[in-house]
Symmetry: D2
Subunit: 366 residues, 4 copies
């Protein structure tokens, strides 16, 4: 049983606190012979990096990843890969005043209750900074997937930020990399930007919803009944800081549907089954159908806001607290590359699981 | 890595197919000395049992559980508990015609693609009949929880069935056991009943949403960062057949909130922290706060309907298919006791995990 | 973490007590499409079955195995296989007098200390009867290996029983099935038989050493550094009741060797590397070399003897105890098929692990 | 499933190659609140450190451990502890000539066969240098044990080195720290030293046997039936480089014993059961009895010797190979602190496992 380890075949253990000297991921179960270098992983980290726009925290972290093991002459050797990122901009004094206070909506109080002590600097282990290690591990997964499943593509994007919602009629994946919201609609960027400016200036924060689209996933991934592909994807998303809900396909909306309109009917295409719709989100009985996999999750508003909130301290005194420091007004934004990384890890994990049990054989149709 | 095993410390492996001779659960990691008998588990199975109202499948299964090991003179011994339920009403002929066809919305096609062969009778392993074994395992968990955490109470109920939604102003937990919908509002039962009659007579089915309320859970359960309590609860719910979305606290609605209205402010109560609201659903940073834990999930409409749907068969021929057999018009109903069972298993699992790491120590406040 | 589960990819959980209604194994991770039936497994159980010669316990158990799940039309489906064996000859009254006494050399006292209560009938869970479930699970592994690695052959035999030692000059594997000692030397059987008669008549018991020879294992199995093939084989053997030592290749004798005489030099054979000796026992760095794998283990003398021994009871009183009941004078004999079963499970487990990580690719030489 | 992870509750994942920039261990499952600092761990590393006498490799490694996470103000926080040791004296040129040759007795050939490529420098991942990370992880385990089980004491010492054997009549644990052989007999040190000088000068190496004595282990540790305490200890020892055999209590010698002389009879002592002998080595049915736990293992002679041996290279050519570099003439010596570390990890792991399942309750006697 592992608390800080994710995955079954492709496993990574993240370590490190927000304001410790470094953080990282120990990645095990990596297939051998896969081309990999630090630059490949760095690309993914750069997408998550703080301080790149006014819409994210102004903490300046280079987030340079180093590979300390498991690589030889540019290829993975099948041994553990240690990924390490130094913490460089640790302004711990920002956090001195919360050393003995519990920020509402934060894990300060639950860590204190559970462990009796906690590294309070920047939230310590409960900080979203831990997700940098996930993105690095996800980079390794992406390298392996590029090697084993070259057609696979994982794309994350925001579909909601408070009152702002993606107009699906404008959906344009090419727009995603060119704006600070990972928004697949260039025309909406100014409005989203103005909206978030207003939230930040109002000393407030706002929630978000993110969608992950997985294209090119072959049928047959998913292990019934307690390691279903949707179960593992949902767990991966729920493990990300501040996530409060996860949906596959129709998601919570499935409660409103009837059997006749929810059925994804099937016809015969040129190279196999052709589904006429995708209410299921690409997964049936926990196993991928070969369709696009579609999942969504919500992220609660950043709990660290400069509007005073009522709380208590460790001595049991009632206080009002303003959370200073450098915080994202919408943590949902930077959750996008984190979720892509987690999705990559889940897909790879299941690809390897499937190799173990079935050897990759597939039932024929026709 | 376990495909058919759930849990870390308290683990159960379910086995059996819909139309095999029997099914069951092998439960391991059970603490010793806990009073247990078949009758205690049977109570839970009876709540899930098919054929008890016109609103569930007419398959008649006694669902009698037998305990084959791990018990001595009325107490658990700490050794594996084998729970076995004989299948008695297996009308396999109902399923002969789908031996080589793929029912839309079912796992027929994905099992075929993954494994190359499948026990097609009643969906084989992908049948919701597997959940009987979960409920039996959940009964063991409930017995252990009654022993170790006597104040804990887990209550499941429907909050939506297609167009029908629970009026929260009428919420009355005492009503739940007295109607076939596990509905906490006796006044709404006739309307829900009429609605579902209409659905069934229309040869259709309908989705549902279920809420699980966990009262009396102590603070400190949950293991950061990849075995968070909410992660594990979400995974548990998503592993149930037909579930498409899971929410903790505000759930998907968190995307619409701001930081000021989402913060659960804290005051000092007589015996510890007092939270003024519960947007978080009782979990912060993956660890229980001591508040009520609130989660919801959606269940898609039963895919087996008698309205013809377009599909293909194993020979790649396009056909129209009517799914005969005895099916629930709303599988969400019977998901209620299943979800309670899964929640019980997760809470117990985390209680034991916490005993291992912290020995049950708790940080003090005040 | 699993206490009653063995294996990583190919996993089985055994359940059941010596004098409960039944015992069995829940087998998960089985590849689909493998031909299997009860008769195939029964063959292995019959080799371990008690009561077949005067040299083993006179308890008469049919040890009929039933397959309750995971099989369809004669092939595995990839879902869990439940193997169940009814206990039929439970003479619990034999054990009444030890309900509150601790038999020396038995787990009575440690189970009591750990769990506070125990099923004392026949040793309950600590009885060697649990190994029937292992042999059944091993039968499933053997079926899968016959399918995936048809050249593999696992042979167990006794090499020592008290003062009697195998004369390796007479080694004849064909003799093994034809004598009650699994002895690869027909000429020695009368002497071994007389010796064990003497032990039994002397109200005594005797230890044994067993060797397992694995032929046809391909190179490349074994997962460094904590799931080495020798580590897993050693753990498998040490988990068998009464085993006190395990050796790979030279074993404990390696302490007396020098580097020049221990080196297994290599030449080039017609189809790959040719090792000139096998001091290593077929495993280097935890990975199989492609040579024969050779391991040995010792089994302590049966602790249940009719010669009175000094002990205490649960009230803390000092007593003299004679262990009645029907016991093997040399439990090492029946350990042979059990060890073969465990070895089969380990090899299959590693074959599947290797498929997951490397996909079965192999480095070339020449 | 973890290849590079050891343990169930207290888990560590080692990473790093012999000649990479660094190596280390990621330790998870650590209880919170335990006093710990780098100096405490360093003590253990210093006992294993190479280059401290003429009898070990002349590679000079400072083996300075750094703690990068999981510690706050001198106490563990319950989050992962990253232990990192920089490699400083990497003379990779020593290994250039074996880049494409397979050293007999080494894992060169099996890593090549399994993975298709390998970091050949110093054996890469298969190097005994990996054991430095184990010793560091063991230091964390020792700190936790000192906190939770203050009476526990784990002592390792050599009992054999080739022709030299410990005279048990001279057994003196106080002598162990004062000689380069971890030998509990000061009078024998000169003879052992001369003997090993002769071996080294003869361009040879020699095997060894090591004994581990665990005093102060409470009864009740061990989890039947596949995580028995002896099973886990045996697996821990077998996972150490070059180990070929493991014994508990009487070990392989149990094969020669009879039931009457093997029984550890029991009397009632002042504070509980008093065993009159310890043939079992302190473990019955896989659970500790409260007696001393005694285990032994053998270590094969160092395969790297300067006497030429016949082998092949990657092109399939037959060659004669002299292994240069800086090697221990008896790797068994440095296995002593490694084995102590592994034993500490196993005992702690089982202590935490037992807390999870039984909550630490113990059955009473008298």
């Amino acid at each position: 049983m592992s608390y800080n380890t994710f995955g079954r075949e492709f496993r990574f253990t993240t370590w490190g606190e927000s304001h410790g000297p470094a953080l990282g991921a120990t990645v095990d179960g990596v297939p051998p012979g896969v081309p990999l270098d630090e630059g490949f992983i760095q690309k993914f980290l750069d997408r998550r990096r703080p301080g790149t726009s006014k819409h994210t925290t102004q903490r300046k972290e280079a987030d340079r990843v180093r590979i300390l093991s498991g690589l030889f002459e540019g290829r993975t050797t099948g041994t553990p890969i240690q990924l390490m990122i130094d913490n460089t901009d640790q302004r711990s004094k920002d956090y001195g005043e919360i050393a003995s206070s519990f920020r509402p909506g934060h894990a300060d109080i639950t860590y204190h209750l559970k462990y009796g002590l906690r590294d309070y600097r920047g939230g310590g282990r409960s900080s979203a900074r831990e997700t940098a290690a996930r993105v690095a591990a996800g980079g390794v997964a992406q390298a392996v997937l590029a090697h084993l499943l070259p057609g696979l593509k994982i794309t994350g994007y925001m579909v909601q930020m408070g009152e702002m919602r993606l107009n699906r009629g404008n959906f344009d994946p090419n727009a995603i990399p060119d704006n600070p919201f990972f928004l697949p609609d260039a025309t909406a960027v100014p409005a989203w930007s103005d909206y978030l400016d207003g939230v930040r200036k109002g000393q407030n924060s706002v929630g978000a919803a993110v969608e992950i689209l997985i294209e090119g996933c072959p049928p047959g991934l998913g292990a019934p009944v307690y390691a279903k592909l949707d179960t593992d994807l949902a767990a991966a998303m729920m493990s990300i800081n501040a996530v409060k809900g996860v949906e596959i396909g129709e998601g919570m909306g499935a409660a409103s549907l009837t059997g006749t309109n929810n059925a994804d009917e099937i016809r015969m295409g040129n190279d196999g089954p052709l589904f006429l719709s995708n209410h299921a989100g690409g997964i049936l009985g926990g196993i991928s159908t070969g369709q696009e996999i579609v999942l969504r999750f919500s992220v609660k508003p950043t709990s660290s806001i400069t509007t005073p909130r009522r709380t208590i301290n460790q001595r049991g005194e009632e206080i009002d607290l303003i959370t200073k420091g450098r915080h994202d007004p919408c943590v949902g934004i930077r959750a996008v590359p984190v979720a892509e990384a987690m999705a990559a890890c889940v897909i790879l994990d299941h690809l390897l699981m499937d190799r173990a049990q079935t050897g990759g054989i597939r039932g024929e149709i026709g």
